[in-house]
């Protein structure tokens, strides 16, 4: 006995081991009382020598040793020998190295023991092992220093010397493999997230609001990847591989009059010439019902992919929104305004001195603001000025919007005039006027709004949302003017098409009549497909317009980036040496990263993709390319030529704002697409739906010819208004029901929150009754490992109070007599009161500032 006790005192670092054996030994020799008395003696001997931490460590290990004790008692005889063997080894080990506890070396002695165990014992052992595993699993969640964790881990692993060990080893090695796999899988998953390091780097320099843009960009990239996969795999590739080759039919051939210039770069860049008559655009696709040896239904596939793209986008956006909403949870609890400002306002990711300076400034401002707000929460003399300024700002913004709307209207009217007279007579500017004006407006109006918004003096997060809303309105105006112009163009093309149709019959008649007047048996004359007259194909025109818009938009973005950010940064940097004022901190300075503008650019870009993808299957591919380049270019630009925002703020909650705008745009962009699909008849000689009166007739056709008759019949029954209307009604009812339940849940949530608050107040009242005694506690000699204290802990307070003799919690009453409860208490739930209560006034577990000599003496 004594030897072991001594090991406990002198081993120091590995004392958990020895302690364990001490107790096992005691248990096997006698009963529980003996141990407790000895415990007491031991403690008296130590009497302040052992630090709190040590004690708490010991207690946690004891929880485990308790479990093992019973088994030891049972297997007393068999285990005894092994135990002694192990103890010797252990002591040797202790002297040899500190924590070398590789379990592999011990299994061979214990093999014999395994046979002598009964099934129940095995079960129990397994349970014990399970609990130990749980301990290992929770270990990382404990605020201990690593050394201690390692010691506890090795202790736990080597604890079962006899049967426990074997099983734990077998069991553990098995699940170690599984855990290792899981870990590797986790590692793999994190390694698979693209641009993670880049984004984190940006986050650490510029704070989370800038990073939120890049995360959004990455998310968008993922969505476009799927859209691209759909269109590429189900539409473009089948047509290119299995459809009729280029030059076989008119729609797949460049017409004769364009042939000469079809390969010119300028034409190709404008997506005319060969690009126009290729798989990239709607017009190229043939209306042949099934192509290739696979009998691939291309028109059907084209239609379904068009619908599927939109449906998938809706699904993803809404799902993401719902998830974000879940995360946001309870919402605005302003009861800890000042505390949060103090405790949580520093963004530890900031690794840039400039950002840190800005952050200091912004924190100071927010403190001052909060103090002023608190002081002047009642008197609001200044509010009139603020209100006036805000109204003024909104008025100015409205003026801007109206002005830009008129400008676009004017330009579109002009361009229609040009188009009527024939674009060939005009120069480059007249042809691209609309696009250029729109890009310029998109570039300068946000800056104007930015200037105006300084009048309003909102919190940057609110200001960002206002700014986003305004630019959104601007872009939306632009987009819809563009669409209206397109609609006009479609009408023109359709009028043209009618004429062509008429001419076509005349041309055909002439062809037959003119060349072969009377020989009806002669083979039909083969005219080269390039010479056959054809309609204007408005679908391809629409697709081309969108592609051009995307290209010009991308170019504007990149050029703005290069000139506005890079060139400016270069000039500021190098001219600063020979300039009369400080350029870096003075007027031009470096540019900030414009989160709102970039996010909106991304959203509108996506809107155009959704709108145009039906008529130009190449759009998702183009967008993918654009996003990819953007990612690298903007990451680079941000890191090399932008400075962090003056008021760094956190982006929490703004993600859903982006998503909401994306949803609005998605809805608005599907509207015109659906309108054109449903109400305008497709061109007669181009595209997969040529020859049909409406595009969606392809569904009807498939139903009739590819499915058995009864299916078509069923479908027609199902689609009759008598069934559809009740179904719609049912849907509305379901929505109403779900909405009302969610409302109820929200209310219940609020009530629960209120209840929680009242409970915590009650606890306050309890505790307030003995504040002086609480302070006295700090002198108490025990401190525990703060294991599962999460938020405020009611029980903890009861215990505190209980210790002072004021409030005696029923379950704690037996401990209240002595301030130093018995460590060896058998049930773990009534752990000594030290564990939580003391954190309030005593020392923290693992705190470096603990009684010094003890921790030293124990460590050495």
């Amino acid at each position: 006995m004594l030897i072991y006790l001594k090991t406990f005192f002198f081993v120091g670092k590995d004392n958990e081991f020895s302690l364990y054996y001490v107790e096992v030994e005691e248990n096997s020799q006698g009963g529980q009382e003996k141990q407790t008395t000895r415990d007491g003696k031991r403690r008296r001997e130590r009497n302040g020598e052992v630090s709190r931490r040590r004690a708490s460590e010991k207690r946690t290990t004891e929880v485990d040793t308790k479990r093992a004790e019973k088994k030891h008692e049972k297997r007393h005889k068999t285990a005894r020998k092994e135990g002694e063997k192990h103890e010797k080894r252990q002591r040797r080990k202790n002297s040899k190295s500190e924590s070398d506890s590789a379990p592999e070396s011990k299994d061979n002695q214990a093999v014999g023991v395994l046979g002598s165990l009964t099934p129940e014992e095995l079960e129990k052992l397994k349970e014990a092992v399970d609990e130990r595993k749980k301990l290992i699993a929770t270990m990382r969640g404990k605020p201990w220093p690593m050394k201690k964790k390692l010691v506890v881990l090795s202790c736990v692993l080597s604890q079962g010397v006899t049967g426990v060990f074997i099983i734990s080893f077998l069991y553990y090695s098995n699940c170690q493999k599984w855990m290792k796999f899981q870990r590797d899988f986790e590692n793999f998953k994190t390694a698979c997230i693209p641009w993670e390091m880049k984004i984190k780097e940006i986050e650490s320099h510029f704070g989370s609001s800038v990073a939120s843009y890049f995360i959004f960009l990455r998310w968008m990239y993922g969505i476009n990847m799927i859209l691209f996969g759909l269109t590429f795999g189900l539409v473009m590739v089948p047509e290119a591989l299995m459809g009729k080759p280029y030059g076989s039919i008119p729609r797949k051939t460049v017409p004769r009059e364009e042939e000469a210039s079809a390969m010119n770069f300028a034409i190709l860049w404008d997506f005319g010439g060969y690009a126009k008559y290729s798989v990239l655009f709607y017009g190229y696709y043939n209306s042949q019902r099934a192509i290739g040896w696979l009998k691939f239904r291309l028109p059907l596939s084209y239609f379904l992919v068009g619908v599927g793209t939109v449906a998938y986008s809706y699904m993803v956006v809404i799902r993401t929104m719902a998830r974000n909403a879940n995360e946001e949870g309870g919402g605005d609890d302003t009861s800890f305004n000042f505390s949060w400002k103090t405790f949580t306002s520093w963004d530890y990711l900031i690794g840039n001195p400039e950002t840190a300076d800005n952050k200091f400034a912004s924190i100071t401002t927010s403190f001052k603001e909060a103090i002023v707000e608190e002081q002047e929460s009642r008197k609001d003399d200044n509010i009139h000025l603020t209100r006036f300024l805000r109204v003024l700002a909104n008025f100015l913004v409205l003026c801007c919007l109206a002005g830009s709307g008129y400008l676009i209207y004017f330009v579109v009217r002009r361009s229609q005039k040009f188009a009527l007279l024939g674009l060939e007579n005009y120069g480059w500017w007249e042809r691209n006027e609309v696009n250029m004006v729109m890009s310029l407006l998109g570039m300068f109006c946000p800056m104007l709004f930015d200037v105006i918004s300084t009048l309003e003096n909102y919190h940057p997060r609110v200001a960002l949302q206002w700014q986003l809303g305004r630019i959104f309105a601007l872009f939306l105006g632009n987009l819809y003017t563009f669409i209206i112009a397109l609609m006009d163009a479609i009408q023109l093309k359709r009028a043209e098409e009618e004429i062509v149709k008429k001419n076509m019959t005349i041309w055909q008649a002439n062809l037959y009549n003119g060349t072969v007047p009377d020989n009806s048996t002669a083979p039909p004359i083969t005219v080269h497909p390039a010479d056959i007259p054809r309609g204007p194909c408005w679908e391809t025109m629409v697709g081309q317009e969108f592609v051009r818009l995307i290209i010009s938009d991308t170019m504007t973005t990149y050029i703005t980036l290069l000139i506005g950010d890079f060139l400016r940064a270069v000039l500021v940097r190098f001219l600063n040496n020979c300039w009369c004022w400080d350029l870096e901190y003075g007027f031009p300075s470096y540019s900030e990263f414009d989160v709102s503008g970039n996010v909106l650019g991304l959203i509108f870009n996506q809107g155009m993709i959704w709108m145009g993808a039906f008529y130009a299957p190449c759009l998702p591919a183009l967008n993918l390319l654009r996003l990819h380049v953007s990612m690298y270019l903007q990451c680079w630009a941000v890191m090399c030529c932008n400075v962090p925002q003056e008021r760094v703020f956190k982006a929490s909650g703004s993600n859903n704002f982006y998503m909401a705008m994306l949803l609005v745009i998605l809805f608005l962009s599907t509207l015109p697409a659906i309108y054109t699909i449903v109400s305008i008849p497709p061109s007669f000689d181009c595209g997969p739906f040529s020859g049909k009166t409406r595009m969606f007739d392809v569904i009807q056709e498939t139903l009739e010819s590819d499915f058995p008759a009864w299916f078509g019949k069923m479908f027609s029954y199902a689609s009759n208004p008598g069934l559809v209307l009740p179904f719609l009604l049912l849907l509305v009812l379901a929505i109403y029901y779900l909405q009302s339940t969610s409302k109820t849940y929200k209310r219940v949530n609020m009530e629960l929150k209120k209840k929680l608050q009242t409970v915590s107040w009650e606890v306050q009242m309890y505790v307030q009754m003995s504040p002086t005694q609480l302070k006295g506690l700090s002198a108490s000699s025990f401190s525990g490992v703060n294991e599962e204290s999460s938020s405020i802990d009611e029980a903890g307070h009861h215990r505190q109070a209980g210790q002072n003799g004021r409030f005696i919690h029923p379950s704690q009453s037996q401990h209240t007599q002595n301030s130093e409860p018995p460590v060896s208490s058998t049930h773990t739930t009534t752990r000594p009161p030290a564990s939580r209560g003391h954190t309030s006034s005593g020392h923290l577990p693992g705190h470096p500032q603990q009684p010094q000599k003890n921790s030293h003496s124990n460590r050495r």
Binding site: N337, D357, P771
Partner: protein, 188 residues
């Protein structure tokens, strides 16, 4: 154990993975960075890296609590804030993405507890606010503002009204904050 040679033993690595919230890559990265810091220690091989060296890390350089962080995570007997590799891992684990709110708030409390007495009293809070507002005079709060601010903080979070904020009160406040977990992060 503190012997951080050029390569990390495999079993130790897996133990570290088990005991921290870090992934394998992150541990290896941390090890690389730590070894680099160690190598700069002139000639003398030591398992610890002094606080000054640690503070040269760009991730900590501009943090107003950098010294506190070192002191909290240091297990050095000299109380000089020097970190062993394991302390360093502890630090990164507590500041990692996947660390729990509980552990983050625990360490945050100890970081803010400037005098290491286990509670945040008015002096701690004053120091804390001063660290947050920066060293320069134009950003510093005036005495009156400071007094007002501290009394407001205590009014909100000092639930038992003993004039100090203790750990459970602190965790109570922190656990409701929407931003804490996302901002209490350090990424190497």
């Amino acid at each position: 154990m503190g012997g951080t040679s050029s390569k990390l033993p495999k079993d130790l690595l897996s133990e570290y993975q088990e005991l921290t919230f870090l992934t394998k890559q992150e541990i290896l990265m941390a090890h690389k960075i730590f070894s680099e810091l160690q190598d700069r220690e002139n000639g003398l091989y030591s398992s610890r890296v002094s606080m000054e060296k640690i503070l040269t890390l760009p991730e900590l350089k501009s943090n107003p609590f950098r010294k506190r962080i070192c002191h909290v995570f240091s297990t050095s007997d000299m109380k000089d804030g020097s970190l062993s590799f394991e302390d360093f891992l502890d630090l990164l684990s507590a500041f990692s993405d996947s660390a729990t709110l509980e552990i983050k708030s625990h360490y945050a409390f100890r970081i803010f507890d400037f005098d290491d007495d286990g509670t945040l009293d008015a002096r701690d809070l004053e120091k804390l606010v001063n660290s947050l507002t920066g060293e320069t005079d134009d950003t510093r709060l005036t005495g009156e503002e400071m007094r007002q601010l501290i009394s407001n903080i205590l009014e909100e979070s000092d639930i038992d009204k003993d004039g100090t904020v203790n750990l459970s009160e602190f965790q109570h406040v922190i656990s409701r904050s929407p931003d804490f977990v996302s901002s209490f992060k350090i990424v190497l």
